[in-house]
Symmetry: C2
Subunit: 435 residues, 2 copies
């Protein structure tokens, strides 16, 4: 290959791209880019012209001998071994307690592979034998029921693609100084999968909820007995007992053999290793909905049962801790989501919010899933501050960080959904900043 691609040719291309500007500091119209008809006029990436003598091309060793055999359960390439969850050191005081994050900045598309779905445990991952597991449904019902795993498999099931976000996701950005971290490191308590299971309403109808009931309280089989309360109307609306995740049985980290899945709500409510649902006439006020998972306000009061996750977005590439190694065209891309519906619009700014352009998103976005957004960006070596701002179908607009901070006590780290700012230096270093 010829790595001495003509500077003049690239300059000509960049001139063309500049004429397709949609907002300040290099944001380019994607539609025009895809149809630019660059035919022969230049290439988008420097150094990719094939030399006339095809110099630099060799037949690699792996093309000369048969490769390895087929397998029962595959795994990633050893060259992609760095694509892992961001997992902490083992917790010496409270074994198994903590969170691992999805490496959003290393992924693409909208789905999270099961092996990379974020984790948040309060007493580690129980090793449950499904043949011994029972789900008990009792309380204000005409007929208490107990379901084995096999029992549930006989019921009608539904499949839905939903994001799951921890209430504490992005909480680092609520602190007084901007932590140096990546998109996954800050926002990676967020994942998306196709969940399949039995509608909770099917089981509740079978048990026969009595008229005075208005809540359910749900408990996991982990050693923390994690419990959460859910209003009955939500339980009847779209909650499922999830048995499968992206097609296969759900993973131990996600509640194998079964978890509650409460679409659009803070992840903690989707109780894993689900073993008990009690129909009640009020919330249980479990530890994880009183001492934690509430939002402290400036006046010292706290909001409780603020379940739905706010409208939010994050640029995953470029991401903090990346370095842009060449000037020219890049794709700015990221994820947007909302607990109140589908994503209707994502805007991107490259100048810290002075000017904005609509990012490209696919049509017909589904509610309560992740939306991938993209926009071409011509980076010519100047400083920039990249931001994204999401709007959902309910009309909610993602707030600026300052607006979010003003709503809460400085101690609150839950339900953070302020705009993320990535500063790009003239050297191409990308850093988390408050802007």
């Amino acid at each position: 290959m010829n790595n001495n691609k003509s500077e003049l040719e690239l300059a000509h291309l960049h001139e063309q791209l500049r004429s397709e500007s949609v907002a300040g500091n290099g944001l380019i119209n994607r539609r025009h880019l895809l149809g630019l008809g660059l035919a022969g006029a230049g290439s988008l990436v420097a150094g990719n012209v094939l030399a006339a003598d095809a110099s630099g091309l060799v037949i690699p060793a792996w093309s000369k001998t048969p490769g390895r055999e087929l397998s029962g359960y595959g795994s990633p390439s050893r060259f992609a071994a760095g694509v892992t969850r961001l997992a902490p050191q083992p917790n010496a005081i409270s074994p198994g307690t903590g969170a691992s994050r999805t490496p959003l900045h290393l992924l693409q598309g909208t789905l999270t592979p099961n092996s990379l779905h974020f984790e948040r445990h309060h007493a580690g991952i129980p090793d449950i034998d499904p043949a011994q597991h029972r789900l008990v449904l009792h309380g204000m019902v005409r007929q208490p029921l107990a379901f084995s795993y096999e029992d549930l498999l006989a019921y009608p099931q539904v499949s839905r693609t939903y994001f799951l976000e921890c209430s504490g996701n992005s909480g680092a950005n609520s602190g007084p100084t901007a932590a140096d971290n990546s998109a996954g490191g800050i926002h990676g308590l967020l994942s998306c999968a196709e969940w399949t299971g039995v509608r909770l309403s099917t089981l509740l109808e079978e048990a026969g909820v009595t008229p005075e009931a208005s809540w359910i309280t749900c408990t996991g089989a982990d050693a923390a007995s994690l419990g959460r309360s859910v209003p009955l109307n939500k339980a009847m609306e779209d909650v499922i007992i999830a048995l499968y995740q992206n097609g296969e049985p759900i993973r131990p980290e996600q509640g194998y053999p079964m978890r509650l899945f409460v679409p659009g709500w803070e992840g903690n409510v989707s109780v894993k290793w689900l073993t008990q649902i009690k129909v009640t006439d009020g919330p249980a006020n479990f530890r994880d909905e009183t001492s934690r998972y509430t939002e402290l306000l400036p006046d010292g009061r706290a909001l409780q049962f603020t379940y739905s996750m706010g409208v939010k977005s994050v640029i995953t590439s470029p991401s903090g801790q990346m370095t842009l190694t060449r000037r020219g065209l890049h794709e700015v891309t990221g994820l947007a989501w909302s607990g109140s519906g589908a994503i209707r619009r994502v805007e991107i700014s490259a100048d810290g919010g002075r000017t904005w352009a609509d990012a490209h998103i696919e049509e017909n976005q589904q509610a309560l899933t992740l939306t991938r957004f993209r926009l071409p960006w011509l980076w010519e070596g100047g400083e920039a501050i990249l931001q994204s701002r999401a709007t959902d179908t309910a009309g909610n607009v993602q707030p600026a960080r300052a607006a979010w901070v003003a709503m809460y006590s400085p101690a609150n780290r839950y339900h953070y959904n302020g705009i993320q700012s990535w500063a790009v230096s003239a050297q191409g270093e990308v850093k988390n900043v408050y802007a």
Copy 2:
């Protein structure tokens, strides 16, 4: 739990269900089932009534001590270790050559986890270092180009969910006798994932296709140098260079670091480990599009370049080699797909095709993806033959097996899309039959 659930109560429930019949031999209206309001009247599954003294419930060992730690890259429960691809013994004559199948009968939903995506290799899986890999685009273009993996990451990308099906999938059912096998064993050269990558049209436009060009020929970096030809209009329409699969870098078995992905067409055309695209004015007539991957007709001629996969469906549960262990309600479920559009309708028969009922499918099915269909079935211990029949948005209807067989030479095993029949015996044994 009380396992002596009243036979009378179940009989009453089954009476109710029978009144919701939508076709012969036990097929039930799903909509009515979900809203039956069975409140207290009985449970769908025998033996799940909770005894008043909660007898049978114990606190399991895993609820008493903290579970295991978080991890970087997760894996399934040891209790789900049987959920693997159906992989053959190593091929002693041609190492790495063969196919492993997705265990469709053990999965749910519409997506295939990457570890379970089917494999079909012609010389094993090369262990490619992406830093050394090159994709060359040459032939009838104004400017030949060579792309590194890093180069491609800078280009605009798209994400789409597509099924992939091997041309030889289900070929066993073209044979003279019905093999005793499972849904995955017969039809498991079929998977579905969200693929993300660069549109091939973007690269072709950059290179500048010359007016006389009408095809591209594509070659992989495996030791078989597997090659296939694609008409230029399809290449420009929706073909991508796939870099990510369900969010993470594509797996070695799927072509890491990059593969051609040709939506809706036989899997063999989606060349893995893609290293060369040559723009031409005709097909290359590679080995895998002459001696193989053609369909032999009754008169001895063969069809070549029959790329698009036919409209098709298969019931994945119940599946051959399963045994129904209890009478009563079951969910009949399976997958439908078409290379010519989206799935518009799936019908199910429980009496070998005498009567049919519409299965439930979600609204707004996307083109070229897998569609999950479901219908409740009350099995009361009689014999049954379960079948499914798909119709796509282009109006194509899945043919009966006999109609398919009549179109080809008995030697042809490609592009089989006849209706699958599962016979259920009075003992509940499920078997592949021709009916």
